[in-house]
Each structure stands twice: as C-alpha cells, then as structure tokens.
Symmetry: C2
Subunit: 388 residues, 2 copies
C-alpha cells in the first residue's frame, strides 16, 4: 500500500472543485463509473439521502456528486426533496447527463430549508473551476467542512490500482456512520455488486467503529465510484478500500470536535465479533473514559466499567487491560489481577496525544478496534452555540 498525492484527483478522470461563502460551501465532483452507497440508519433521514438512494438503486452508476455544507436539508419534507433534486439537476445540466446519475449530499444544521439562491451562486463559482489536480481535491474537501478543522483526504496505490477518498465529519459522530460525508473513488474495474459488498465490509470496520459523541446523524453518506479503467483481483481492491476507509476514520477521530487527543481501543479474545465490537465501542464512547484521556488520568477503572456495561459476555476475573503509546506499553490488569507500581508509566502514556487501550477478554478469538477522541472544553464550546 503506497500513499500517493492528489486526493481523489489521483484517480484518472476525476475532476473536483469547491466554493465557500461563510458557513456555507458547495463541492462538485465529476467522474463516470459504477457506484455504490451507504446511508445513515437514523429514521429521520435527510432529503438528499432519499434522492441519492433512489438514483443509485436505479442505475448503479454515477456521473457526479454535488454536496453542500451549512444546511443539512434534513427534516424539510417535500420542499427539501425538491431542493435536493434541483441540486442534482444543476450539476446534471452542466455535465450534460441525466439527473438520475448525480448524487446529492448535505451537512449542517437540521430543520432548516436550503437557500437555493445561495446554492446557485456557489454552483456558478464552483463549476468554472472543475478540474483535476491536487488542489481541486482539497478544495472540494474544504467546501464540505463544518466544524472540521482540517482537510481530510487520502490516495493510495496498491498493486496497480488506486483508491482515494475525501471525508468530512467532526461531531454528531457515532458508530452506524458519523455525521460524515465520504466520497471514495477508484480506477479499479469492479461490478456494482462487488462494490456494494466491499464497501459494506470496509465501512463496518472503519466508520462504524468511530465515535466522537454518540450521536448518529441524519445525513451520513458514503459514496464509492469506480471508473473501471484498471482490471484487478477483487481482494486487492478490498484491501486498498479497507485501508483507505480505516485511515479516513482515524483522521476523523483525530479531528473530532474539540479533540486534543486520539485513542484507539483494541479488543481481543472476545467470544464473538459482535461482542468485540460492543466492547470497543462502549470504551470509545464513554464520557468518563474520554474525559480521563483528556486529563491524562490513568483512571482505568472507568475502562473496566465500560467493558462491564457493553453488553458483551465478560468474566471480570479473566480481563487483561493495558495502555500503549509513544513507544511505551504497560499492563494494568492481567487476568483480573491489578498490577502494582504501574500507574506512573500509565500516566506517561496517557499524556501522549495518541493512545491505544488494549482489552483482552480471554473468552474466545474475536477482535475489534474502535476509533475515538477525548471529551474537552473545546467540544462543549463548539456545541453550546452552534446555531446562534
């Protein structure tokens, strides 16, 4: 797996651009190919998701994506649906294709109608800049940022094929996908069915194991388009896609709202994969673990507590628990036994800005890994006055 430059424009045939005005932004991406998507599980699903879902179901093919930030176009009923379709028509008209071959995505405040005049203005700016260079990918990624503090993109080359993606998402992030918009591209030649299956697998171990605040958004969208220029073995593509999604998930955790530190929770020895995932998520989303990480407090009892309420099969007397980070590794509990004289080393690790919590349940062979960040004053600041 080789990292390369260029973001999504590292994939031949992908053009991108973006425009911003204050809180509002619009990204355009043009690329022709087989496509698959995944959407939020929230029962209040934003209008653009319904529209995009229908388009993907109809054709399994995309010519482009139009995505805005600032307004989620969620809980906006029939009017929201018309607005989403109008956005698709804007890009379809410009690309000379059908509305049904355009995906629409939105992120921002829920329960507000789209300002379509503003969108038209941003579209006018963005369409003039649609192009294929590294700046174009970053520009599109920047246009969809809300509380994100940095552009999040990646491109890799793996045994001749390429996979790339941009992502936005910093808050309202919880397993079952984040408040995230993620647009993935590949030059691999893969069928729609295989795209769907590989995407489902990749999302399961990456975005679905990511938590910032435990809130599942109304707007989560992951779209994958394959231009089909490179013949490949499916397994090679699957590996590259899995890597790209995992790295994007890590970037999102690192850029979590107000985050000062990043931590992964690695669970081993679970009785089932479901159990392993439940434990990894429970630790990642615990407000008490998150504040302890913020304060570099090696209060490992809170980790054990989260393991206990995760719902997974747990034998307290068999649990091993350790911390890892900055080249150090320390065992805090070994098979239920509290280790003595290790708190200083634990504290040193907790002071780092990237920490791994290792939990071995010793009940089986299943494992899982979750991605999270600390809970800080910054998170409270950002979210206490979001719409005002």
């Amino acid at each position: 797996m080789k990292r390369i430059e260029g973001g999504i424009c590292a994939i031949s045939g992908v053009r991108a651009s973006g425009a911003r005005q204050g809180r509002y932004g619009l990204a355009l991406i043009a690329a022709s190919g087989a496509a698959a998507g995944m959407f939020t599980t929230n029962k209040v699903r934003a209008a653009p998701l319904d529209v995009t879902f229908e388009h993907l179901e109809g054709f399994g093919h995309l010519e482009g994506i139009i995505a805005n930030s600032g307004c989620a176009n969620a809980y906006t009923g029939q009017r929201g649906r018309e607005d989403a379709k109008a956005m698709a028509r804007l890009l379809a008209g410009f690309l000379g294709t059908e509305e049904m071959k355009i995906a629409v995505a939105s992120t921002g405040v829920i329960g507000r109608y789209m300002d379509m005049a503003l969108m038209a203005g941003l579209f006018h700016q963005a369409k003039a800049r649609l192009r294929s260079d590294a700046q174009a990918s970053a520009e599109a990624a920047r246009a969809i940022m809300t509380t994100d503090t940095r552009v999040k993109e990646i491109a890799v080359e793996h045994q001749g094929l390429r996979v790339a993606g941009i992502v936005k998402g910093a808050g309202m992030i919880e397993p079952n996908m984040a408040t995230m918009l993620c647009f993935l591209y590949t030059d691999a030649n893969v069928s729609v069915e295989a795209l769907k299956e590989c995407l489902r697998d990749a999302v399961k171990d990456s975005f679905n194991m990511l938590t910032v605040d435990g809130d599942t958004s109304t707007n989560d969208t992951v779209l994958l388009t394959a231009t089909g220029k490179i013949k490949c073995r499916l397994e090679v593509f699957r590996e590259a896609l899995g890597f790209v999604c995992m790295e994007l998930a890590r970037m999102m955790a690192r850029d979590g709202e107000g985050a000062s530190k990043y931590f992964e929770t690695a669970v081993f020895g679970a009785r089932s994969e479901e159990d392993a995932r439940a434990v990894a998520r429970a630790v990642a989303r615990s407000s008490l673990v998150k504040t302890a990480v913020y304060g570099a407090d090696p209060n490992w009892g809170r980790i054990i507590c989260a393991v206990g309420y995760s719902g997974a099969a747990v034998d307290p007397g068999k649990i091993s628990l350790g911390l890892e980070g900055g080249g150090l590794k320390v065992a805090l509990v070994e098979r239920g036994k509290i280790m003595e004289g290790v708190l200083e080393a634990a504290k040193k690790i907790m002071k780092g800005d990237a920490i791994t919590i290792n939990v071995d349940l010793d009940l089986g062979t299943a494992s899982a890994r979750s991605f999270g960040c600390d809970l800080t004053h910054g998170y409270v600041d950002i979210n206490a006055n979001y719409t005002t």
Copy 2:
C-alpha cells in the same frame, strides 16, 4: 402527598449517622424491617453488591446499612469481598445482630482496595453518633457524597404512611440506574414480595430514566426497608414510593456533574412503552442536545435527530415537538411541519434553568419521561482529573 422534614429519620425507628475524612466517608443506618434491593446491570459488579445481594436473598430482612464513599471496592476480587463482609461485621457487632442482616454499599474510584484501617476509624466516629433526628439523615447522606454538591433527601407522608430516602449520585449516571446509592425507608407494613415489585416499578420510571453521562456504574444500589408499623393499602404505598423515587431522580439530575441546567423529556404518542422510553432516553443522553441546553441554543434539529436514532418506531411527518419552561410553552414542529417565528420564544425558554422537551410521536398512546442535565465545562473539569 405531603412533604415532611427529617429525611429517612422521619420514619420511626430509623437511626443514622455519618463521618468523613477528606475524600472518604462512611454512613451508618440502623432500622429493622423487611427489605428489597436492586443492583447494577453492569457485568463488573462491585464486591459489596454481591455480599448485599446474598444477604437480601437469604433473609429479606435488614437491621442496618453500612456504606462508604471514596473507594468503590469494585474490581477487587476476593479481597474486596472479604473487605465488604468485614464492613458488615463491624455494624452487625455494634447492633448485636447477624452479619447476614446488614447491607453494604460503596461508591468511589474503581479498581482500588479498601483502606480498612481508615474505615475502622470512620466507623468508630460514626457509631458513637447513631441517632434519630433530621441532622442524622443529612449527615448520612453527606457521608456518601462523591462529586455531589448537595445533600439529596426526601420524606413524605401519604394517607397515614411515610416513605423517605437519601440518595447519592452525580456522575457515571445512566438508565439502568446511576452511580447511585439510594436508601429508602417506610413505616408501611408490606411483604418482601410486594416490596420487590413496588421497588422495581418505582425504579423503572425514576432512576432508570435518569442519565447524566451514559455510563452505567459498577456499584448502583437501591435498598428499601419497611419497618412495618403502619398497615396500609398497597396502592397507597406504591404511590408514595413512586413519588419519592421520582423526586430523588430529579434531585440527582439537577445535581449532575457540572450541571447548570436541568431538563426533562416527555414523550407521548409512542407505539409502545418501550419506544417511548427509548426516545426519552435518547434525547436525554445526546451530547449534542445536552450542549445545546447548556448554550441555550434552540437547536431543535438535534432533538429530532436523537428521536430518529433512538430505535423507536418514528414517522418524521407525524412528529410534534415543543419546549416548555418558566411559564412559557412553544411549539417548534407540529405534525412534521416546522413552525415559523418561534425561535425567539424557544430561546427564552432555553435560557431558563429547568426545561421540558415535549415530543409527540402520534403513533400510539404510550408515554415516558426522562431526567437529564446539560453537558458543561464543569463536567469536563470534574472528570478530567478524578483520580489524580
């Protein structure tokens, strides 16, 4: 329902006392009667809970309770169990009863062994003060406080019988009971079986609908002792017990760690009671709703979002949503329609320190109510450096 003074000592025959030294405290309560208990669902369950559970199962009768703060005696294995039994023996010896008739409870840091010398010292102080007056109840309540900022106690008289309780709990609080220790007393004559049933019902609608931070503790304990001096109809007792538990739950939400505001979420029109409870809890535990309450931001989209991911049956087009507080009431959404020109009124309500969020799903007749508080800088401060 008449509120009376005296806390648990308002129940004839109940004696109490407490002692503190720094972070550590010890409460003693002596009262003879039929007893029932409820305990955490966390699979990592603290040693005193196992001991108390066995004692209650064996006799269904208590002579007293010994409860400490500062150390949770959780994840402490066989040694923790011996320590919990030793605590029971201390009080049993003083009261001249059997170890099996004493309940033990603990709250504090997880994964630390008890300092039994310190406990012996606190016990020595507390036993000398065991008495039956209003100060004694508050003293016991204060002895078990951790991050609590105020004594939480209540006593009521209802059609001739009395029910009273003290409670501690401010953080690590989540449906399925809080990090809470709650000791309830009544003079009603009620069988052990009826006590169990009434307690289960009362806890379901009170402590199990309370959330501060979504963490379910290892130590949650609710104990109810009935001295049996007053003959009564079971329904009268059930009403009084339900009222007392609800009021104690409200006190805990108001005193949530770092809380500056209190909010209830009232759900109506759910298809099932389970759905109603799921929605009420999802809104109460949403970090985004909690930070919006803190910032007095009428960002109601976050409430709709939490309703959507609660898991309950929801038809977005049927939801009605409103806010209530400080004598004002405003409808933000009516059967899926966003109301215009109401945000200023909503903001005024959000500025108050007690807010009710009303959600009508319009899918059935089930209702539920949850109790929560805002997420503030204070919460982060308290929990970033708890053990250090």
